[in-house]
Amino acid sequence: MKDFKYYLDLTSEIGFVEEASNAIVHVSGLPKVKINEIVVFETGKIGVVLSFTSKIVEVLVFSKESISHGTKVVRTNEFLQVPVGPELFGRVVDPLGNPLTTMNSYKKPEKLRGINSLPPGILTRKTINRQLETGIPTVDLVMPLGFGQRELVIGDRKTGKTNFLMQTILTQVKQGHICIYAAIGKKKLDIKDVEDFFKKNKIFDKIIIIATGFDDPIGLSFLVPFSAMTISEYFRDEGYDVLLALDDLTTHAKFYREISLLGKKFPGRNSYPGDIFYTHAKLLERAGNFATEKGEKAITCLPVVETMQGDLSGYIQTNIMSMTDGHLYFDSDLFAKGRRPAINPFLSVTRVGKQTQSTLKRDINREILSFLTIYDKMQNFSHFGAELSESSKVTLAVGEKVIKFLGQGPSVTMPINLQMLMFSMLWNNILQNRNIDPIGGDVNKIIEKYQTKSDASKIIDQTITDAKTFNDMLKTMKEKGEMLLSSLKG
């Protein structure tokens, strides 16, 4: 950006600050100003025009320092743009591309892209037909996601939502996709934790973190998801599939509420402005599966929303539920019971994920869901202290194993073919016979073997490809299950 004097000479228009309240500044003058245009204050600070009347221009500023009455302002005839490019990999930056932490040899990308682009129309959109692997059996087998899907991650605080995002990013980065993590108004410590997780798993240089702290200017925090989406669009157009995690939109809504109330907009339900739905829908509509010049490319968006004591009927919660293609509900009760991830399959929805599954995957999905329903009923029944039949006891015992299998450590991700294999083995009692626990050290070793021993993984992948249905798979397991397990254990 050039300086104040440059733009003054360029536009020959000037304004004066009449009123300043935190992030919102009211300016008189600037007769030809446009919505979303950048303005520069004589102090060097910048802001963006939110709205205007014939007398007053409402500006959102991106600085913490207060702006005094009478400060001169100029318009720039430029719209808000964010720097985009591969230079952002392995960086933690604010929505304007400025580094948040001290980073060696960081050069801000020179390429710029407008932050407020319109969502692509229906003609450029494609049906979601490729499954997005998260590396988490509960999701991949029970609640599958597709490339280009917008899946809401919802739940109380401290129920493992961010951890789920990190595991998904870990899996996706390993598959060569672009991953962007947007932290909106988070604690600096939480941002550092995310950074450390990626560093520990050696993928930090392959992801981009767009973040603002809770004490950063609210104008900047408001921009985070839009900036992250703009960067995602850049990489989509460059020919990559992008995974975008927005953590979280309840905080974003609160920031927008603050901005709107300061801007004297009429408050609606829960004091949120009337256009909060529009603001979020405009953002999430920019994700999807698209036909681009470089083929079918997707922006998969995982927005996070926080609930209060498991209440799914909140304003922002229901708004975003209606904008997304399903939701994964992180249940605090399940979390307290020790289930990791604490996804409640009965309260979660995936609207387009199942259409990406093969017959085998769909069979497994149906089998697990129907079994979990029976298991849940059986568990409730057993609580009455009734004497259980042998079959009920078997169901409960298998159920425990299945639940264990669906559980997972915080930084463990399991390839989807291995998930299907392990589940088939569990279903065929092969794991139980060999005394292998479906969670923990045993499974971690198997995952490692699968990822490092290419011969073993090739055979497993071939077995999965050959099995058309779950019955085929079970048949194969009876014949070759022990051998396959030995190859993974050996």
Partner: protein, 167 residues
Amino acid sequence: MKKDVSMYFDLITSLKTTQEVINFVSEIDALQLAFFKSEKTSIEKALTSISLNSANKITQAFSKNNLDTNNRVVVSGFFETLKELIKKLKTIKLVLAFDPTDKTIEKIHNFVKDILGIGYVLDIETSEDVLGGAIVIFNGKYNDFTLKKRVEDAFILKNKDILQLYK
């Protein structure tokens, strides 16, 4: 119903600068305070609380328009309308290289009155940096007619010629 604002013409046109406007408004406030403090206070007595110049102008406006100064409602209405009209005055900001005399201000103000009509006041700022000429800011429009700007432009446009002079 539209108010007859012609009676305020002399008072409004006598204000030339924003400083004069600020002073005059504060005098009206002081006058209102003195006048409405007690029901027994007459306008003549209240006028002694402000400057002689402003008091004369207000007295002239009352007599010229035959206003009943004993009627407190009329007097109150007069001041309120006057303040409303003053609020509507538009400001033309001028940045000059020198501190203008009263005569110069009057000249500039008359010039503005001839071009744009009444209802404009001057906000004059002095900055020696501009060297000469003036920066005019009005309605958000910024026009730099200063000598400083001319010199800068000359240095940009005729950079080579100027450097040639030093060789």
